[in-house]
Symmetry: C2
Subunit: 251 residues, 2 copies
């Protein structure tokens, strides 16, 4: 991981490790999601509004939505670059975008994320415009991110297709099922066969509530069109935890 300095766009270099690619040799979306969230963390921390810094004032960043669109994915052992910048800061949310570039420099994907900051004591949202005397606004950057913003996902019913009891590996340092695991669990609903002839063109996830060790996560799926799925994860038979949309395309 390297950084190009404190300009508005952070740039971080990676390589697709053997255990981070799927059966077809493509970087998994879970690992990509992990890298995006790490880059968000590096970029924010380097500029004075990262997790460690805001934790000192007893605030924490919460990922609300993530949308990823891909034309291709890095293959095993390929180097790739993630660029990230802040697109907008509102009172309660901030939009952070990402660009994914292949080893040869070709841009192969984009992502959009929406974050809030909450008080670690009251769990109430903080005013981002007041953060560090408005300092975060100084990093807002006009740069093209040619993908649709994460939208509202609403299932019309949905078929109950799987259950998963949250285990040790699912749980992060906050005691919640971690954001990356939900991405993996959603993709794990699909048979391997689908990933053989198709790839994920767009993946979207909205984090609605937290779940904990031992919670039973139930997965409901609504196929909107050929290769287009809306998914809702509910915990313990009732409360929605996440909503996701997955759109496949021919490889």
């Amino acid at each position: 991981m390297t950084t190009t300095g404190l300009n508005k766009v952070g740039e971080y270099a990676f390589v697709a490790e053997p255990f981070h690619v799927d059966f077809a040799g493509r970087l998994t979306l879970g690992v990509l999601g992990n890298h995006l969230l790490n880059c968000a963390g590096f970029h924010a921390e380097e500029r004075g509004f990262g997790m460690a810094t805001v934790n000192e004032s007893r605030y924490t960043w919460v990922l609300s939505r993530l949308a990823i669109e891909l034309r291709a994915l890095p293959r095993q052992y390929e180097r790739f670059t993630v660029r990230t910048w802040v697109e907008a800061v509102y009172r309660l949310f901030t939009d952070r975008n990402f660009e994914l570039a292949a080893e040869d420099g070709t841009v192969i994907g984009h992502a959009r994320s929406v974050w809030a900051m909450i008080s670690m004591e009251t769990r109430k949202p903080a005013d981002l415009l007041a953060l560090h005397g408005g300092g975060i606004e100084g990093y807002v950057c006009q740069r093209d991110c040619p993908i649709v913003k994460p939208g509202r996902i609403k299932l019309a019913g949905g078929r109950h297709v799987a259950d998963h009891r949250a285990v040790y590996s699912d749980i992060d340092v906050n005691g919640h099922v971690n954001s990356v695991r939900y991405i993996e669990h959603v993709l794990d609903l699909f048979p391997l066969e689908r990933f053989r002839s198709q790839r994920v063109r767009r993946f979207e996830i909205a984090y609605v509530a937290e779940s904990y060790w031992g919670d039973t996560l139930s997965f409901f799926v609504d196929e909107k069109a050929e290769g287009e799925f809306d998914i809702e994860i509910r915990k313990n038979g009732a409360e929605p935890v996440c909503r996701s949309r997955v759109i496949f395309a021919r490889e």
Copy 2:
């Protein structure tokens, strides 16, 4: 990741990323396992007997056994170092060891691994002493690795505690459930409570057979003594796939 050159011991630097630590803020054993196997790959590749190189001759490395002993684990955001070297080369197996050092240089753990090389066509083992004209022997290194070698794990019965159907995220580029996922699945058998007051002091795994997407993995556990567990994973109700031993210690 950096390398210190082509001496017999490879040295690689990492940082414990936020999504790579457990609820208690310690690097997970699955992630550590992934790093160890990557370091094995880097070290071998840099010296001309790595996966990509042997694949050209239609051979592939197969991990047979892994044992890890830890006094502590890196915490979130901490830097740490993995060192690896070849301890011995036999006709059909080679022993590769590892040392884990914390940010301040303290050695906090060791690991031992046993590898074979097989033909990608016949799946028969290759003669390692003949590999590259005996070149791998030139890297054998006398260096202390003060942990017991991986032993033979044999369950006296065992209680059937869980089942897991192998999903998309479990499968690696060879089409098999990947070595790191088995580590995670084994640790996921234990309640979070155990990891609150205890830590894994020794983890051992023997890879016996391959499993594939859709296979039902059944987990059998035999508690040998307080905090000492032998685990066998069987696929589709019969064939053993992995055997593991987990020894906990008070944190």
